[in-house]
Symmetry: C2
Subunit: 354 residues, 2 copies
């Protein structure tokens, strides 16, 4: 029996993506060879990489100024690559959660960083707003969605400097004008595909201005020049991502999945607000569509029972992050509404039998 | 029909590894979940990572001074990470092929590099020997096996400074005292597993001496402290690698596979030397056990026919590297001797029907 997996990442993927990925490992394109043993320079794999990059461009409606890369090393490596490639004098950062905080720590090793806003003193339960970005910075760095606390930026500022955005946990989950961003990066393992690749979207007109002679792997321009094949790419992760992008296209693309994501989030937040046994973690206006964080009002009384109930129902992965506690249901693109309905049913059942 | 895949990397893997990897994508450990959607912090995946690291330590007979890491970014990122972590004043490099040359180019961006020997003027057809390593360098960098030209270091020098070695194309293919090395790195996609992870073995007593405040992802110590889980690891690649390491253990470990590799290489080089239609690319004493490079003596007369014959026989991936031409049969650990026998048969058949 397939369970409903609410893990925060790596996270659930559509069944058809799992089937196609497993099949390709045994016999890729009916070639008598496995996907994971062919040369990455073979025409069959080059076609996979090209199609994946092209499909991201299409789904995000990107202009020709913006290049799509599949790299490795996760958002953690991007925390360094972003300033290495774009920071000349100074950069502004917003501290909206623990990954935002990690990106600041990494950027400070590379250059002059101005933290223009933080919600740390409020335990990151809201998105900082009404801050001023200095005119002399090279970019503003934002974290679109804070996985640990369940907050999400709803409206991005209109600025005179490029926005660099970590979209690891909400990339491709909601529609917007992605061409407004100078750089977007995201570890694949939430909405994009399996762990093992990092999606980067970069406005190439911003590159080549820092004067740094970077190691090749850390230089976006090197990867652009070689169509993400400057060295051996993470073949399996890129293929599974392509399958997932095709699935996303069938959902009506980013706008189509956004509708589904909103319906799932409304259902679950609705129950959290209605059910007297539960409460949300964050302020309402900043609630994430992806990571729904909530508490039981009385852990001592209900925790053991609730935990037993959702486990028995076939739900996994809703434990809250260790620094926050409570519960976190990650309802990424691939979580079907039936999974959310089941969780809501269990919450109602707890109330009925309380 | 499964073909014999002589690709230089990504390259052939044992059938059972492909089967196990495909199965884990559909239903991992009978959990009702896919390997690629569970949390990397789940106990099931932590067990995979721990077992993979422990098995490498066992297969390589490593002392407690040496730590095993599974990273991302391939050897290309290691070309930078090695000097970033170990180069304080100056390092010595040997230029034995195109990846060695790339490692030198990258290291020069980071520090003072002394190229102590090169076989470039002889088109890299032999391994440089009889060079002197200055006493004041932080390490000597070597490339154990040169994939493009088919040469391999048979005896490593005894030195007063640590040896840093790129073993991307012969890691775990032959037995030696791996504790003698200060740092070993290898992209997985030849003998270790699928593309998407990089195996690093580092003597931790050498770290922390450069004074650099490195970005976290580029700092070996960060990965050591977190057991290769400082950020989300490439889950699938690590799992498939573990399956491959278990297969290797069943072959009698590194010593056992070395015997098989020597038998395969002797068979193929024997035919190249015996068959009047062929000749080897490199000097005999430096011939690689992994990448067997050879030419047809008369391309015009035989190339079309030979290419048709091996393709019809079910062989793929023996085209030579573009800068070398001719043929390259990569006979990594997972290539069964039956594949080599088939190739030798085709070579004999060409001679018979010439």
């Amino acid at each position: 029996m397939r369970k409903y997996n609410f893990s925060a990442g790596p996270s659930t993927l559509p069944s058809e993506v799992l089937q196609q990925s497993a099949e390709a490992i045994l016999n890729f394109n009916n070639s008598g060879l496995s996907l994971i043993e062919i040369s990455h320079r073979s025409k069959d794999f080059i076609a996979v990489m090209d199609e994946a990059r092209t499909l991201v461009k299409k789904l995000m409606k990107l202009n020709d100024t913006h290049e799509v890369l599949f790299l490795q090393g996760g958002a953690t490596l991007q925390f360094a690559m972003a300033p290495l490639n774009l920071l000349k004098t100074k950069a502004a950062y917003v501290d909206s959660g623990n990954f935002a905080s990690a990106s600041i720590k990494e950027a400070k090793k590379i250059g002059n960083i101005d933290v223009v806003a933080s919600s740390k003193e409020d335990n990151y339960t809201h998105i900082p707003k009404n801050y001023t970005v200095p005119t002399d910075v090279d970019y503003l760095h934002l974290t679109a969605n804070n996985t640990v606390y369940g907050t999400e930026i709803k409206t991005f500022p209109e600025l005179h400097v490029p926005i660099v955005c970590d979209m690891s946990s909400d990339m491709l989950s909601r529609d917007m004008d992605f061409n407004k961003f100078g750089l977007i990066y995201a570890g694949a393992q939430k909405n994009i595909g399996p762990a093992g690749t990092t999606l980067v979207v970069v406005d190439k007109t911003l590159l080549g201005k820092t004067g740094r002679n970077l190691p090749s792997y850390l230089d976006y321009q090197v990867h652009i020049d070689k169509d993400s094949m400057a060295n051996t790419p993470p073949v399996f992760a890129v293929y599974a991502t392509l399958m997932n992008l095709k699935w996303l296209e069938k959902q009506g693309g980013v706008a189509g999945i956004e509708k589904q994501n909103k319906a799932k989030a409304e259902l679950l937040y609705g129950e959290i607000d209605r059910n007297p046994l539960f409460r949300g973690v964050c302020v309402e206006e900043d609630r994430s569509l992806m990571n729904v964080c909530f508490f039981l009002n009385d852990d001592e009384k209900y925790k053991t029972k609730f935990d037993q109930m959702w486990k028995e129902a076939g739900i996994v992965g809703i434990g809250g992050y260790r620094t926050v506690g409570g519960y976190r249901a990650s309802i990424y693109n691939a979580m079907p509404i039936e999974g959310v309905q089941l969780l809501v049913e269990v919450m109602k059942e707890l109330e009925r039998t309380a």
